[in-house]
Amino acid sequence: MTEPSTEPPCQDGSIPAMGPPPLRQSLTLECRIDDLVRIPRWFEEACSFPGLPSDLLFDLMVCAYEAAANIILYGYDNPKGHAITLEFARSDDVLVLSIEDDGRPFNPLERPEPPAVSTIADAPISGRGILLIRRLSDGLEYSRAAQYNRLVIRRNLVPRCEPCRKVQE
């Protein structure tokens, strides 16, 4: 096992003690909105492990939920019969979530960052899903191969300080 990073991204960050061996889990969802309820259950039951801060798992769960909801809502003319595959892996210092679908090509990294808003009137109604994925992850990778979208979301096993988690005003 490699040593955890000794350079947390925030001055007040600390590195949680990691004991269990690497973990790998997968979940296949039907492309239906009502199947999304399986995501939080899967994270709680299959992806948790002793020593894992619940906030980090929650962040990754939010990312998984938002990504899968986008695929179901926008990835197909008719999502019936299609599937979304989620894979969760943990190494010593990072949680990695991979999401694959055979919907139309869509690279969320190419979506422009929504403008900062200061009033209810100015705030656009939609577009928060990708924003949440960006804010709650430490790394995103997208690829398209063999008619499959693959989004890889990384979450470091190092707490970030609160100002880093908030939208910069």
Binding site: I33, D34, L36, V37, P40, D55, F58, D59, V62, Y65, E66, A69, I72, L73, A116, V117, S118, T119, I120, A121, A123, I125, S126, R128, G129, L131, L132, R135, L136, R165, K166, V167, E169
Partner: protein, 111 residues
């Protein structure tokens, strides 16, 4: 999820319970928007029993806030649990919504 409507004087309180996500946003939207009075609405959305909010839920809350504002009313939220608060923080909603720690504080702010 459940949306329980009560009235406290001239203030309508909607208590959201459970998960406000892609599965439940549509029914909550109907309930919440349906509770907005046509003129000068005063509303509190009590989130103390709300376990989760997704971007679909944020969208519904923002729609309600816009409609209340257009009717020259006031809307506040209260009682956000830590995970719900986090989603509000990272989405920027914490800075555009009026948020009170609990229902009593929210009602006290609407004399």
């Amino acid at each position: 999820m459940e949306a329980i409507e009560t009235r406290h004087g001239g203030t309508v309180v909607i208590e959201a319970r459970g998960r406000l996500d892609s599965n439940t946003a549509r029914s909550f939207e109907e309930k919440l928007l349906g509770a907005i009075a046509p003129a000068d609405p005063v509303m509190v959305v009590d989130c103390s029993q709300l376990d989760y909010v997704s971007s679909a839920g944020l969208r519904v809350l923002l729609m309600a806030a816009k409609r209340v504002k257009a009717a020259k009313g006031r809307l506040a939220l209260c009682g956000l649990k830590p995970h719900v608060q986090e989603v509000f923080d990272v989405s920027g909603f914490s800075s555009i919504f009026v948020i009170h720690p609990n229902r009593a504080a929210a009602l006290a702010a609407f004399p």
